[in-house]
């Protein structure tokens, strides 16, 4: 049960991190959003055998992590949460793709290459999304969505879902606490109680959500989630976007690791 309460605190960690005031945090949300979108597009645009070309793209998350002074461990843990899913998707690749190629005399199955390619791409995209939230915050991200003219309803839905996850988890924690105190012998929840607990949970969450909604309405909420001024886009914000987009373009067009390799070997010769 303490896991649920811990994860509630952990979930809000990204909000806490978003309140830092580093150079990255101060960049306009819209520019960070666009940078992330371009990054994701470039990452997924690489072919399934192009692992080498993907490597320069590690530079972006590493730089953002360092400049935004974000803790590495919690971000890594969140990425690991998604990895089992990706392993599930890609693990059959080595079985189906038997073609072999040689790397420095070592035979490697192409299936394994595609598997690692999926694994890396997933890691990079999830990291980019997490970094965007951890350096921007959900509220400011929503204002960036609105600037892009994404319909109000979708943005509201995103924000309220994010808000209600914690409401739901708080209710789950309460129900589990009450259950475990009266069932000390049980390790989990007995299947006989599953139905009634789930029913209770849904009713309570409805009730709680209704009260939260009423509190919002009483303070003038009419469907538009106002998160404060958008702030003006400065030259530095543009420079951030342009800088990264240029880097991603170069990484896409040129095989940077190969260029560095040939440069080094050229020097050695």
């Amino acid at each position: 049960m303490s896991n649920i309460i811990n994860s509630l605190y952990n979930m809000r960690l990204l909000d806490d991190l978003a309140r830092k005031e580093t150079a990255i945090h101060k960049i306009h949300p819209l520019m960070k959003l666009l940078t992330t979108v371009v990054y994701l597009t470039v990452v997924v645009s690489f072919g399934k055998y192009e692992i080498g070309s993907l490597l320069p793209l590690f530079f972006y998350p590493v730089m953002v992590l360092a400049l935004a002074e974000l803790p590495v461990k919690p971000i890594l843990l969140r990425i690991l949460l998604v990895e089992p899913l990706i392993i599930g998707i890609g693990i059959l690749n080595p079985l189906f793709d038997h073609q072999v190629f040689y790397l420095g005399g070592i035979a490697i199955s192409r299936g394994w290459v595609t598997f690692f390619s999926i694994f890396i791409k997933c890691g990079l995209t999830v990291t980019a999304a997490l970094l965007l939230i951890a350096t921007t915050g959900m509220d400011r991200l929503a204002s960036a969505f609105r600037m892009l003219k994404i319909p109000r309803l979708f943005v509201l839905q995103l924000l309220l879902t994010y808000r209600y996850i914690s409401v739901l988890m708080e209710e789950v924690a309460r129900i589990l606490r009450a259950y475990s105190l009266r069932a000390p012998e049980h390790k989990g929840i007995h299947r006989n109680a599953w139905g009634s607990l789930a029913g209770q949970l849904i009713l309570r969450t409805f009730d709680r959500a209704q009260r939260v909604y009423e509190a919002m309405c009483l303070r003038g909420f009419t469907g538009e989630y106002n998160t404060g001024g958008y702030g003006k886009i400065k030259v530095w914000d543009f420079a951030y976007l342009l800088g990264w987009v240029s880097f991603f373009a170069i990484a896409k067009i040129y095989n940077i690791p190969m260029l560095i390799g040939s440069l080094l070997t050229g020097v050695v010769r």
Binding site: R12, D15, D16, A18, R19, G137, M138, D139, R163, S166, E170, R208, R211, V212, E214, A215, M216, C217, L218, R219, G220, F221, T222, E224, N226, T227, G228, G229
Partner: protein, 260 residues
């Protein structure tokens, strides 16, 4: 100052399951008054508050804020004039920081961000939690949460403050602090509570509700000491006015008022 007046005329409300929660209530609350609404559980206090705020609408009768009827059309105006503090501050605080939460109301009224900031700072300073403005609401203590919830309403600069159990779940010191805070306000205040000692301290007038009807209304100093009335409405005389628990001697207050 008629726009600060709150008038309830022959109010009736029946829930869809047929339960008559409010049954012909009428009263008027004037500018600057502090009024306590008390009653046993299920007496109809919360329903009454919901009707005052326009969350529910009556089957019969009307609620007037100043000279404006509470209807769906007038809700934006009504909700700017009436600010409600919920019993559970967790229902009220939902943004990621205290600042954003307090700014939520003013931003909904499309105020300039500078004006929003001014109001937020004022409200936080009034309740004495300016230093908590960047904290996440869920990390605050019970008393701090309550203060933040009150600030989130004050920032809308309402004329009338409606509070549902403002001292519920607070430790004695936090309770005393919140009471001091409420006492310092010049707003018209409507407070529902089971904390009768608090009502005795803060409200000049009290309305007693029983089974959806007004059982009595008048000066708090007369209503709350009326043991018979309190008992018939499922309540008790405030602890501060009861006999000394050690020696059983009756309190001076009762003797001064010529009560048994």
């Amino acid at each position: 100052m008629s726009h600060h007046k709150l008038e309830v005329k022959d109010l009736h409300f029946i829930y869809p399951d047929g339960h008559k929660a409010v049954n012909g209530m009428s009263f008027c609350i004037y500018h600057g008054e502090s009024v306590g609404i008390i009653g046993a559980n299920g007496a109809g206090k919360s329903t009454l508050l919901m009707l005052l705020m326009g969350v529910l609408f009556p089957c019969q009768g009307e609620v007037l804020v100043g000279d404006v009827h509470v209807t769906k059309k007038t809700l934006p105006y009504i909700r700017q004039r009436l600010g409600m503090v919920f019993q559970d501050p967790d229902d009220q605080l939902f943004m990621t920081t205290v600042y954003d939460d307090v700014a939520f109301g003013p931003r909904n009224y499309k105020l300039e961000e500078k004006e929003v900031e001014k109001r937020v700072m004022q409200a936080l300073e009034m309740v004495g939690i300016l230093h908590l403005k960047d904290r996440a609401p869920f990390k605050l203590s019970g008393g701090e949460k309550r203060a933040a919830a009150i600030a989130s309403v004050l920032s809308m600069q309402p004329d009338i403050l409606v509070m549902d159990e403002p001292t519920a779940g607070l430790d004695p010191k936090s309770r005393r602090r919140v009471m001091g805070l409420l006492k310092s306000f010049e707003h018209t205040r409507i407070i529902t509570s089971h904390d009768l000692d608090m009502v005795f301290d803060l409200c000049e007038r009290t309305i007693v509700i029983k089974a959806g009807e007004i059982a009595a209304q008048g000066l708090t100093s007369e209503i709350l000491v009326n043991e018979e009335l309190m008992d018939s409405c499922g309540l008790e005389v405030p602890l501060a006015l009861q006999n000394c628990p050690v020696c059983g001697i009756k309190k001076q207050f009762k003797q001064l008022n010529g009560l048994p």
